[in-house]
Symmetry: C2
Subunit: 203 residues, 2 copies
């Protein structure tokens, strides 16, 4: 597998390594807890990533009590149960379907922006879309804190939402295990990536 | 507006500034073109960002000919037309709805992974979800190249898809203007961001 050094970038090589080139989606973590200070620092970095009309719909639910962790693991696919139980921290990344109620504060340049999102179906689509974009930022932010992020979409979304978000205001988009990677994790070779020519075309 | 320095991060402060703290969604660019080498370097960085089952559904269509640019601008909301016309480069970020056809190569650890995505509706949902996560990485990657990214979702998705992707294999998720930001762009104050307590909760 090639491991290019994108020389055209302004970003320093050690930062490229930290954020993209070195990290792997780990399945085993060290016991060290993730601190509140680390989570706040991650937020204070990635909160600046852009979203449509500054919606910022991503919400992060830190699953910390053993009861909550037990409930979460119930909803994960079998292949994700053990690693979620063993992670120092699991975070449910959700979209706030009522993000529009804060737009007068978050997007004051367009008075009445809230009314654009009166239709629940269109609002849900915008919330989940932007929460996914923010999930990309969040994964980068976890790595910026020197931690590993293991994002998972393999869970029973309906059951998890019914259990954790019974009022229907939040909708889970991913569960991310976070922590210090175990010394020899992961045990498999990096999966192949698409080439530039596979991804980019011109018209 | 506060401008915190997340001291808990491993990522160097200048990299924090480059990727998240300093950039703004600009509406005016310098004339300097975006080079092929820059785009390849961005790809060679962000291709390592994780996706579900290594799907990598994001496709990037560089709108370069004046004919194509004219067609693109037709589909943009009025408020996005002038800035798209003036940008050095506009990129249509799309999801490849047939990403599953390459899973035997991209996710060899699970033979037959392609069959999980036989249902077109579920496949489309997975493709767009992961393309949005990758859009987050792409925006970070553009900034890593020292360029500004101005992502837009304000366009007639149906009309753009019918025009640029008539075979239905790709579905646009965003249009991103890319280039060197103009000297005094943008002219408005940074929009407010949610606080940690607004975004993070514990259970």
């Amino acid at each position: 597998m090639e491991h290019l050094n994108p020389a055209e970038l302004v970003l320093a090589k050690d930062a490229q390594d930290l954020l993209f080139l070195d990290p792997r989606t780990v399945t085993a973590f060290q016991d060290a807890p993730v601190s509140d200070a680390q989570l706040r620092a991650i937020h204070d970095l990635v909160k600046y990533g852009p979203t449509s009309m500054n919606q910022q719909p991503l919400r992060a639910v830190l699953v910390q009590s053993s009861t909550a962790r037990g409930r979460l693991v119930e909803h994960m696919l079998d292949s994700n149960k053990a690693k979620t139980l063993a992670a120092p921290l699991s975070v449910i990344i959700a979209a706030d379907l009522n993000f529009h109620l804060r737009l007068s504060e978050l997007f004051p340049v367009l008075p009445g922006a809230e009314e654009f999102f009166a239709d629940p179906e269109m609002r849900t689509a915008s919330a989940t879309m932007n929460a996914h974009i923010q999930l990309g930022y969040f994964i980068v932010g976890v790595r910026a804190a020197g931690l590993a992020a293991a994002p998972m979409t393999g869970f029973d979304h309906q059951a998890l939402n019914a259990d954790f978000f019974p009022d229907g205001e939040l909708q889970a988009v991913a569960v991310v295990n976070v922590g210090e990677p175990a010394q020899n994790s992961p045990g498999f070779a990096r999966l192949p990536r698409l080439q530039y020519e596979d991804v980019f075309t011109s018209v």
